[in-house]
Amino acid sequence: MILKLVWENVRHKPVRTLLSILLVAVPVTLILTIIGLSIGFFEDSKRRSGGVGADVLLKPPNANVISFSTVTMPSKIVDVLAGEPHVVQAMGTVVNPTSGFLEALNGIDPVAFNKMSGGFRYEEGHNLEGPDDILIDSWYASQHKLHAGGKVNISNKEWHISGIVEPGKLGHLFVQMHTLQEMVGASGHVSQVFLKLDDPKNTAQVVSYLKAKYEGYPVLSMDELQALLSVDHIPVLKTFINVIIGLSVLIGFAVVSLSMYMAVLQRTREIGILKSLGATKAMVMGIILAEAFCIGLGGTVLGILLSYASRLAIQAFMPQAIVYTWWPIAGGIAMGAALLGALYPGMMAVRQDPIEALAYE
């Protein structure tokens, strides 16, 4: 019967209800999109770092291990590392961020890279040959509608697209290492060195050995790198997500609070009638909370649907994962905010003097 009362109330003010649901859905979508983008980005990064085929990564001193860093080290170190025990191949690469969001040019030696990773799989064209050649993965190519044989301008330079490759290896954009070194004024320098070992079982041993020998150089196994690629290790992102969650609670709270406040005012007389029939405080509060619950639930469902829409819209720029585990979390946040927001209007309804309420026009 309470459900029927609530349902008739909701049905009777469809515009207000739908508007409230929509407004509650916005923060739900926001949370799911932000989470989806972070996780999507990290999954993509993990796949690509795994695709290099290396066992150990070494970076120059002071470099941030998981971001595109412009710090470099002399490429002599590559040959030195190649001579270390268990190391069968050492490969230096240069990374330089482009103006694109979370996007970088990777300067590689095509021969070394093929040897370590097992080679690119070409969807179009062929490997880097000329100094101005660029390899693009099919993800980037389809976002920017590029084809082998065409030209593309990245970082103020016109590149010739020699091939389109399958994604999943190191990055999205590959150019000749020498070209990139000259471009960024770092001839004879590399940004990172990947090591392939005789046997992956020796990884831990090699990492600790290298750490001791090359003090100050961040050394980590690819497994460690993968583990680092998560929201937990990027404090800024974590804070950002928390801020979004905080805002979501606030929005949900404010929307439902306002909506239910209006509902209570509009239904002053009806609440008075229910009280004259003997409705208890708990029942009056229950009706208000039940309606807020409906708005919260509707907002959650709509928010989840909208997160699919946002994925579609953002796909061109970044991969967005659909993170099912966050559905109940985002929903819980919305519902919690909605119920909290309904508390004060509910109290108002409970405290209303039934005589005045019945006299209310």
Binding site: M1, K4, I273, S276, L277
Partner: protein, 231 residues
């Protein structure tokens, strides 16, 4: 005639309202006994305290002082929850403005009252007879806005009686009705009183309507000034 037990017993009831800094004495020492099964009419000029008396008897507001016992419950001492329980189980209101829940059909209005009182919400036995007697059995699936004033008031009466209250309080039940509908509603109230022994208190401005009661109480300035029995 032996004196039947009182279902309402009021002693020196006072009620003052504080509006701003001015205190308004709406009731100034009311004494009244209503035996079970009586149909009592209350008349008096506007502002004489008739509605206030109903609100206290029906547990919508507490008295300022005095003793009020309704259906065995001392309204002056039971507190908020006790007054809610009184409304839930013992007293029903019928108002001048019908006060039906506008979004619900007549049937759901009645079911809501049954639900609140913790009773089964299917219509059976006595309630079916009441609906027949009220002549609204065919109008149950209509919303208030689709019914005439007379029909709405009959639904309101059905809703009030569905929970089998000890006391029915009707505050100007015919105030918004034309003569024909007024007569019909008054006839229904008398029938309910005679056939079911329903205790009814009815406020009215109309002297002819007041004649439907067994007894007429006259109020003025917050006091009962005269009591008369009808023929």
């Amino acid at each position: 005639m032996s004196k039947p037990e009182s279902i309402i017993r009021i002693r020196d009831l006072r009620k003052s309202y504080l509006t701003g800094k001015v205190s308004v004495e709406a009731l100034r020492g009311v004494n009244l006994d209503v035996p079970k099964g009586e149909f009592l009419s209350i008349v008096g000029p506007s502002g004489s305290g008739k509605s206030t008396l109903f609100h206290i008897v029906g547990g919508l507001t507490p008295p300022t002082s005095g003793e009020v016992v309704v259906a065995g419950r001392n309204v002056s001492t039971v507190g908020d929850a006790g007054r809610t329980e009184l409304r839930r189980s013992s007293v029903s209101f019928v108002f001048q403005k019908f006060n039906l829940l506008p979004n619900l059909t007549a049937r759901d209005n009645i079911k809501t009252a049954l639900f609140i009182s913790g009773l089964p919400t299917h219509f059976e036995g006595e309630l079916k007879n009441v609906l027949e007697l009220l002549g609204i059995a065919g109008r149950l699936d209509h919303k208030p806005s689709e019914m005439s004033g007379g029909e709405q008031q009959r639904v309101a009466i059905a809703r009030a009686l569905a929970t089998r209250p000890a006391i029915l309080l009707a505050d100007e039940p015919t105030g918004n009705l034309d003569t024909a509908n007024s007569l019909a509603v008054l006839g229904i109230l008398r029938d309910l009183n005679r056939r079911l022994g329903q205790t009814i208190l009815m406020i009215t401005h109309n002297t002819e309507a007041a004649e439907y009661g067994d007894r007429i109480v006259h109020m003025r300035d917050g006091l009962i000034v005269e009591t008369s029995t009808t023929a």
